[in-house]
Symmetry: C2
Subunit: 154 residues, 2 copies
DNA sequence: GCAAGACAAGTGCATATGCACCTTTTCCGG
DNA sequence: CCGGAAAAGGTGCATATGCACTTGTCTTGC
């Protein structure tokens, strides 16, 4: 076995820490651009997914967004408060149906431009192809970690 | 230009969202293992870095851990409360010196085993070499996003 | 020795994150 | 029809995250 390089000795060995650090940093770029529309990055992702996939219950959206049901449930509050989406009754007495309001659609359209700015800023620094490769890798990360404990969904 | 594949159309295009999703999922593995020692993943990373790099002020540790100074500052509270580290006065009247207590050292040693379990679980599913490659990629992500707005540090 | 600016840290606010536990509704077997 | 399991959400708690602003301390030029 060869000797460890300086990089290997000094750098983060923890996959979890490395991911969280990178996520924090990259998110800040998106937060900065989206702030112009008064949206957080996570809020944009919720509106965007809801706009793309149409009205659906909370659990379904949470699964689609690969996030915890309760986290999403609470994240909806500010969006509902600001009139961007509504939480109506679902076909079932248990379920609730999420849908964008007209205001939400407008905000989403405006924010999409900001998102593209952020996306462009990151990819200009990191590389467009490299970013696509990274996303593919991250999809695989989610796939392999999801199997072991699919829990609520799948 | 060729047509988009199904994967490309349905998958997350947002680098920020992809990173946060993956970070959440992977962190859960580490949280699950470290819970046996009563530590959160982020707490382990703090103790670990502090143990490896020795006593230092808050700002320095925050920079080293690629996290916000105020986030770290608050994260220290529970660790201090549980007697794992102490926040004493630094050489300077402004700075405060962080250092592990004996209890903290012991806890860190015990938690290290749990961390290895988590690391092994993830790498068994994702691949050891692939994980190393991913960490290298993430280091580059942090490097390129850090330049534009070094702000507090560098 | 002092005032201006730099520097380290703390605080208020708002949101993000997820586990354990609880309530309400269905659904299904008998 | 009833009783229990399953499904969908909600809540309490604890921590994570970071911006703007404040406070206290040092450094430096004069």
């Amino acid at each position: 076995m060869r000797k460890a390089t300086f990089e290997e000795r000094s750098a983060t060995l923890c996959n979890s820490l490395a991911l969280r650090q990178a996520a924090r940093h990259v998110s800040q770029i998106y937060e900065r651009h989206l702030a112009a529309e008064g949206l957080r990055a996570s809020q944009y992702s919720i509106l965007s997914t809801l706009g793309r996939c149409g009205p659906q219950p909370i659990g379904a959206l949470a699964q689609r967004m690969v996030m915890d049901r309760t986290t999403l449930g609470r994240a909806l509050k500010p969006l509902e408060r600001d009139g961007l989406l509504e939480i109506g009754p679902g076909p079932d007495g248990r379920t609730r149906s999420l849908h964008l309001t007209a205001t939400g659609e407008t905000k989403l359209a405006a924010a999409a431009g900001r998102w593209q700015e952020a996306q462009a800023e990151f990819e200009a620094a990191f590389g467009t192809q490299e970013a696509a490769d990274l996303r593919a890798t991250l999809r695989r990360v989610i796939a392999v970690t999801g199997e072991g404990r699919a829990g609520q969904g799948a």
